[in-house]
């Protein structure tokens, strides 16, 4: 690990494994060793990816999915941090809300799809409902846990210095709770991508989730695998961007937030 937590060392054996797997895949398909009509060789997938890029289809799909993920994540983080802070700061609120949260939290996100479809039809709003509701919980729970986990002594320090309540929250509570807030934000981003793809597959016919369904129905497995590859790359990139953003902004909190 370098000091920014991003691995810069080249993992030689790892890259070799990937190359060997791809090569073996290519050979197996070329030599017709397996009888799968719909399993394209890596070279065909690469050609499919090139086709998606030149037609501009890929840019449109990626743009839509990223928009939904970003909007949903920002909404979930905003609501999650506000509610989580309130519930973390007020024991009364916690007593009167926590059980409701615990009952709603395990509701599988996908179960909202039919309800959202009923209310909003095939639209971005449906997608956002499906993304925001489940992506809210990791933020809320981690923010609340971060604040209730702040050591009592820090409150005493605040009282000794007679800090106004706002200063206490901004200067003491938030920095102390920051690592768990960052953990919540990271979990929520991963979840937002998964749910955006789900919503696009069943709810809003747009973006990468719909693209793989469309390619499947058009019997174009090369395009389908190319889109799947892009989705994987987006997953890795979003996580890496968030991690490096955290390291740049809050180096000390990010080092504590690395463990999931």
């Amino acid at each position: 690990m370098s000091e920014h937590g991003v691995q810069l060392r080249i993992n030689g054996p790892g890259l070799l494994t990937v190359l060997v797997c791809l090569l073996a895949w290519e050979v197996v398909i070329r030599a017709a060793l397996v009888q799968y009509d719909y399993l394209p060789a890596p070279s065909a997938i690469a050609a499919g990816l090139a086709e998606l890029v030149t037609t501009g289809q890929l840019a449109a799909d990626v743009g839509h999915t990223l928009l939904a993920v970003f909007l949903g994540w920002v909404l979930a983080v905003t609501v999650g941090i506000s509610l989580g802070m309130m519930m973390g700061l007020s024991p009364t609120l916690r007593a009167y809300l926590l059980a409701s949260v615990e009952v709603l939290r395990p509701l599988p996100g996908i179960a909202f799809v039919p309800v959202a479809l009923l209310l909003f039809g095939f639209s971005l709003r449906t997608e956002l409902v499906v993304v925001v509701l489940p992506a809210l919980w990791p933020v809320l729970v981690n923010v609340m846990g971060g604040i209730t986990g702040v050591h009592q002594r820090l409150f005493d320090v605040g009282a000794t210095f007679r800090l106004p309540r706002m200063t206490l929250v901004l200067k003491i509570l938030l920095p102390a709770a920051l690592p768990s807030i960052l953990v919540g934000m990271r979990l929520s981003l991963t979840l937002a991508l998964v749910l955006a793809i789900v919503a696009e597959m069943v709810g809003n016919p747009n973006g990468l989730g719909y693209a793989i369904i469309r390619d499947q129905q058009a019997l174009r497995p090369d395009l389908m695998f190319a889109n799947l590859f892009v989705i994987g790359v987006i997953g890795i990139t979003l996580n890496a961007m968030l991690m490096s953003g955290m390291w740049l902004l809050f180096p000390s909190a990010a080092s504590m937030a690395r463990a999931p």
């Binding site: 993992n11 797997c21 007593a95 059980a99 509701l107 599988p108």
Partner: protein, 258 residues
């Protein structure tokens, strides 16, 4: 199980008066909108819709098929994930060589694999299980391999000093060390498993709660949609909490986690 840990289990439960907002919401909903509606049917309508569905004998069989895919998929994923996790965690070199490949496969959102599996395997029960296992595998694998990696070197020395046989090493050192990580992995995998089972049912006509939900939505049977939402929520709630209890019971003799 000692009474002490039972009590700590209940002490960790949030106070029940926290359910008031939820009940209040349902009550207000019932009062404001007391009849059927295409968008917000009253909670009493959900109940009668559930009764209607169960009279037609679909609810029970749909529930059984969703729940059994969930169980079978989760158990397979736990077994395969733990085996692979032990294999990978046992050797730093293997772990390093496989890391980029595994990192990439893990970062593909599991739902995206559904159409691929549909094309390669076809839409049938075994495809549903394959998709569930592929999703639930990663958390189990990663947590198990981390647990193997973190076995204290002293334990290896101890096993050498006592000349433990391979079998004794497995039962006395390996298994006790990985079980907390394995259980944590399963706990993380549970919500994913439920989502995948429902998604496959929604996208295909395979029987299950997911298929029932989409059918009700297409027929604009809003009260059935809400009834099924509540049912799925209760299932998630039950499974999560049942597993938490099982986990703390199984781990009763382990040292508390740091």
């Amino acid at each position: 199980m000692s009474t002490r840990s039972y009590r700590s289990l209940f002490r960790n439960m949030p106070p029940l008066r926290g359910l008031l907002p939820l009940l209040l919401l349902l009550l207000v909903w019932q009062i404001v909108q007391s009849g059927p509606s295409p968008y917000f049917p009253a909670p009493s309508e959900w109940w009668s819709a559930a009764l209607r569905l169960s009279r037609r004998e679909q609810l029970l069989s749909a529930f059984v098929s969703t729940a059994s895919s969930f169980l079978v998929g989760l158990m397979l994923a736990a077994f395969i994930g733990a085996s692979l996790g032990v294999a990978i965690g046992s050797s730093r070199r293997v772990a390093r060589a496989l890391r980029p490949l595994l990192e990439f496969m893990r970062s593909i959102p599991p739902p995206a694999t559904v159409p691929v599996a549909g094309l390669l395997i076809g839409y049938n029960e075994s495809m549903k299980i394959v998709v569930i296992v592929l999703a639930a595998l990663w958390p189990v694998l990663l947590n198990t391999s981390a647990a193997v990696d973190q076995i204290h070197p002293l334990l290896r020395d101890v096993s050498r000093t006592f000349r433990l046989s391979a079998r004794e090493r497995m039962w006395r050192i390996l298994l006790p060390s990985i079980i907390p990580g394995l259980l944590l992995g399963i706990r993380v995998a549970i919500p994913l498993t439920i989502i995948l089972a429902l998604l496959v049912e929604m996208l295909t006509s395979l029987p299950g709660i997911g298929a029932l939900m989409i059918r009700s939505q297409r027929n604009f049977q809003s009260s059935e949609v809400y009834a099924l939402l509540v049912l799925v929520g209760l299932f998630g709630l039950f499974v999560n909490n049942a597993f938490l209890i099982l986990e703390s019971w199984l781990l009763r003799r382990w040292p508390p986690r740091a």
